[in-house]
């Protein structure tokens, strides 16, 4: 089966990949707060942070172009609000919105590209994020692959019986067929969820997922987190000072 690209990137072996997720989450939060609270100098700050993120993506041997394109997926959503601001006669706010959302998305792509999702969820858990929410995230992630595989099987089965998929979906009843396939996928996913619950009960599940590894937050992780926060705060202050 095909695996999610971000998942493949996150299995790398750079110095960023080896950092404890908590250190990276702290750095990300500092970046998001710096961006969210900036007004004057936002373009300078956004440019500097984007440059740092792109350099670190390159350092982590993650394709910079592909990562930047993925971050751009957020732009259509921002465009709605930026457009409204523009039409309301506030083009500066529209620009701020675009910069803030794109750089924030790039930072999130950096985090998930350098941290396998299970580790990331564990990192959030150790920082005190609600356990239930994280467990839902973990299951969602795990069974995304199962549902994706089911979807691929159905697609292959449809193609095998109806010629190439493109030809098949171009027919008049393509929406009806697609809706039917989605319904089947939903039903299969539902059945799968029931099976999973049974399998968990069969191995003594009592409501919480146990954790095997304690994980270690090393000196290097602390240094990374402190350095990242200091750098981001410095850029935030400097960008505002340069504009004033």
């Amino acid at each position: 089966m095909h695996h999610v690209v971000l998942d493949r990137w996150s299995r790398g072996s750079s110095c960023f990949h080896h950092r404890d997720p908590r250190a990276k989450i702290v750095a990300l939060l500092a970046l998001l707060v710096a961006l969210a609270t900036a007004s004057r100098g936002i373009v300078l700050l956004g440019g500097a942070l984007a440059f740092l993120l792109l350099v670190s993506l390159r350092w982590a041997r993650i394709p910079v172009g592909a990562a930047s394109a993925r971050a751009a997926l957020v732009l259509p959503f921002t465009a709605v609000f930026a457009g409204l601001s523009w039409m309301a006669g506030d083009p500066t706010r529209a620009l701020f919105l675009g910069v803030k959302s794109y750089v924030s998305a790039l930072a999130v792509v950096w985090l998930v590209s350098t941290t396998p999702l299970p580790m990331l969820l564990r990192g959030f858990g150790r920082l005190g994020a609600p356990r239930f929410l994280l467990e839902v995230g973990q299951f969602l992630y795990r069974y995304l692959f199962v549902i994706s595989e089911e979807g691929q099987h159905m697609r292959n089965a449809a193609a095998a019986r109806g010629g190439p998929v493109r030809q098949w979906i171009n027919r008049r009843n393509r929406f009806r067929a697609a809706a039917g396939a989605l319904a089947v996928l939903f039903a299969r996913s539902y059945l799968r969820a029931e099976e999973i619950h049974r399998a968990m009960l069969a191995r003594g599940f009592q409501g919480t997922l146990p954790v095997l590894e304690a994980g270690q937050f090393r000196v290097g992780d602390a240094l990374f987190a402190v350095a990242a926060v200091v750098l981001i705060v410095t850029l935030r202050i400097a960008s505002q000072g340069m504009v004033e």
Partner: protein, 246 residues
Amino acid sequence: MSPLIEVSGLHYRYDDGVPALNGIDFRLERGETVALLGPNGSGKTTFVLHLNGLLNGEGSITVCGLPLEKKNLPAVRRKVGLVFQESDSQLFMPTVLEDVAFGLLNLGMDAPAAEARAREALQMTGIAGLAGRAPYHLSAGEKKRVAIAGILAMEPEILILDEPTTYLDPPGQRSLAALLAELPQAKILVTHDIPFAAALASRAVFFEQGKVAADGPIHEIVEQFGWEFVVRAETRRKTRGQHLIP
């Protein structure tokens, strides 16, 4: 000595009212390996789900002397290890090692001991090298082995395997049969794979329409129901050159 599992008069209906089990009587003795045979939809899987308390039908079930009641469920689930047909349903933790240790941690074992036991189970099933991998990155055969390791790690007194050879290639099936043959636990195999069942079980129970149609030595049961998969010369002659659909 009392049997490990004793079932009498077990009835079960699905939510839509369709009867699935119509009065099952069954015994499993210590150290015994029994194959459950029968056509698709005959109630084999529904039956074994009752033995772990996952389904709750009418009738009486006793596991290792414990009546199957709500208060005994944790103890029963510790004694009965169930390997599901679809390995994907059984593997939900981020890594193989954590998945195998899942049941042990639920039993209250501390993390270092659970990890050591999980690694032993992975070694036993020949997949020690997969410990750090994510379950969704494995082949179907590897997933099946991880699912089996997750149950073996819990050291149950009874092993139930639902279609254990699904997705395994012939060498994989042989090594699984060799592994199971070495395990001291009593086993119930739900399978259509007659050679595999015959290699491990001496007794078979044949299910038909939610009832036990026959119970006896596996070779007799297989012969009685024509359940062996042998392509006879006559069949070959008849089918040669013929289309499946005229």
